[in-house]
């Protein structure tokens, strides 16, 4: 089952991922990404991939 992984040290809180899909991503009070659910359904794959590519610092990835 593929899951979403975030590198919290890289994350700069740009929140492009949250704009792409707020079901999976949020920003904490410290301005760092929170992955709301690591797992995603097959039909959400395109959305999740788009969110991963929208991160300006490559802090997100999908682990297969």
């Amino acid at each position: 089952m593929p899951i979403i992984k975030a590198d919290l040290d890289l994350c700069q809180g740009y929140a492009n991922c949250v704009m792409e899909d707020a079901r999976f991503f949020d920003i904490s009070d410290d301005g760092v990404v929170v992955v709301l659910q690591e797992e995603f359904a097959k039909e959400d794959r395109t959305r999740v991939e788009a969110a991963v590519r929208s991160c300006p610092v490559s802090a997100l990835r999908i682990e297969e």
Partner: protein
């Protein structure tokens, strides 16, 4: 012919189109051509973490080598496209051959506006990896630098040079350079940020002449002042790379003119993406060209969708978003701030390096937001921008984030 999409330009716009095509299930060939020989890299760090040495080149990759292979992206580096033949549906490479396409994506971006001044030795531009590498080497050996241009890239270079301990002066013909984007009240704070970091600003005066050579450059200002520097960095904007399209018949006017579906005007299978595309924004009801990273990524997803689903094309009506890092400020801007008519500042009393500016238009509606060191305020306000709301709504959201007294 099998279906093939040819993407000219392998920076963020072009690469994200290729990735989005595959992600959205495109099965035709995908060819990306770029004149540069480097594996596709990202530009925002070139004035920030790459320039100050925190990130090395291999951390700038826009796509991994495995993904290029696994996604069957035919990446052709080091070849320049010199022409487009619309009737023959082909692009012409400098190396000779023509490549035919079913769909073409123009992703050739911008290049730095060249320095109009005479001196060249020790005078730097900043757009490409090569530019950044040369600048980085020179900064390490220098004691002082004069930055010409007080926009975002100029300010970022000034901040990075300061972090190396260089003496830095920054020049701009505008009295409040960032005011052009964020209004004068907020713009003045950005000027103050230079001052509190020990950078001298010479705003409201132009550059007349730059003479001398590396290690000994003189920048003469129209005010009569003369600034001395070991180096000069010229950051005075960028111009669209559209020369290869000039005789194609496509409409070029400060970029490639596109319709609301990001299709080149009058064409059904030619698209524009990223910094080079000047498309009809249905929300603003005007042609706009945006020189920011997130726009290139969002537009790429739209272009890929429209290539795959030409009969159900989406129009492209984004809320613009840009960030910048200057000194210890992490700046984020969303929506329309330049054309706003009013702006309300919200400060966080517990953190003096943090504030938000909320912008409204002539009819009092909320239209844009800028935050400094406040990502959480940004995301709350940014989400509201796709619909009309009264300015009190974002203001209340931000106030709710403040520590209760």
């Amino acid at each position: 012919m099998d279906s093939r999409t040819v993407i000219v330009g392998g920076s963020v716009g072009g690469i994200r189109v290729a990735q989005a095509l595959r992600s959205q299930g495109y099965t035709g060939e995908v060819t990306v051509i770029d004149a540069e020989t480097y594996h596709p890299y990202d530009k925002p760090p070139l004035s920030k973490s790459f320039l100050d040495g925190t990130l090395s080149y291999d951390r700038l990759y826009l796509i991994s080598e495995e993904e290029v292979r696994d996604s069957a992206i035919d990446l052709r580096l080091g070849d320049r496209v010199v022409g487009l033949d619309i009737t023959g549906s082909s692009v012409i490479l400098e190396s000779g051959p023509a490549i035919t396409f079913e769909n073409l994506v123009v992703a050739t971006g911008l290049r730095a506006r060249p320095s109009p001044w005479e001196a060249t030795d020790g005078v730097h531009l900043l757009r490409t990896l090569d530019n950044a590498q040369l600048l980085k080497e020179d900064l390490l050996g220098a004691g002082s630098v004069v930055v010409v241009g007080g926009g975002f890239i100029g300010a970022e270079v000034a901040a990075t040079a300061r972090s190396f301990g260089l003496e830095v002066a920054i020049v701009d013909p505008l009295k409040i350079p960032i005011g052009r984007v964020l209004g004068d009240t907020v713009g003045e704070r950005f000027t103050g940020l230079h001052h509190s970091n020990g950078v001298s600003t010479h705003f409201g005066t132009g550059v007349e002449r730059i003479t001398g050579a590396k290690g000994n450059l003189s920048v003469e200002l129209s005010s009569g002042a003369v600034l001395l520097g070991d180096l000069v960095v010229v950051g005075i904007g960028a111009v669209p790379n559209t020369e290869w399209l000039v005789s194609s018949g496509l409409l070029i006017d400060n970029g490639l003119i596109c319709d609301e579906y990001c299709r080149a005007a009058g064409q059904s299978n030619i698209y524009g993406v990223g910094d080079v595309a000047r498309w009809y924004h249905p929300g603003y009801q005007a042609l706009v060209r945006v020189e920011h990273w997130t726009n290139a990524v969002e537009q790429a997803a739209c272009v890929a969708h429209n290539i795959i689903n030409p009969k159900e094309s989406d129009s492209y009506s984004p809320v613009s978003y840009v960030w910048s890092d200057q000194y210890d400020w992490k700046i984020q801007i969303a929506g329309e701030t330049a054309a706003a008519s009013d702006c309300v500042l919200v400060e966080d009393p517990s953190n003096h390096a943090r504030f938000a500016a909320v912008y409204s238009n002539r009819s009092g509606s909320y239209c844009g937001v800028a935050t400094v060191n406040w990502p959480r305020a940004m995301i709350q306000c940014r989400r509201l921008l796709d619909k009309e709301s009264d300015i009190s709504i974002p203001l209340n959201l931000i106030t709710a984030l403040l520590p209760s007294v």
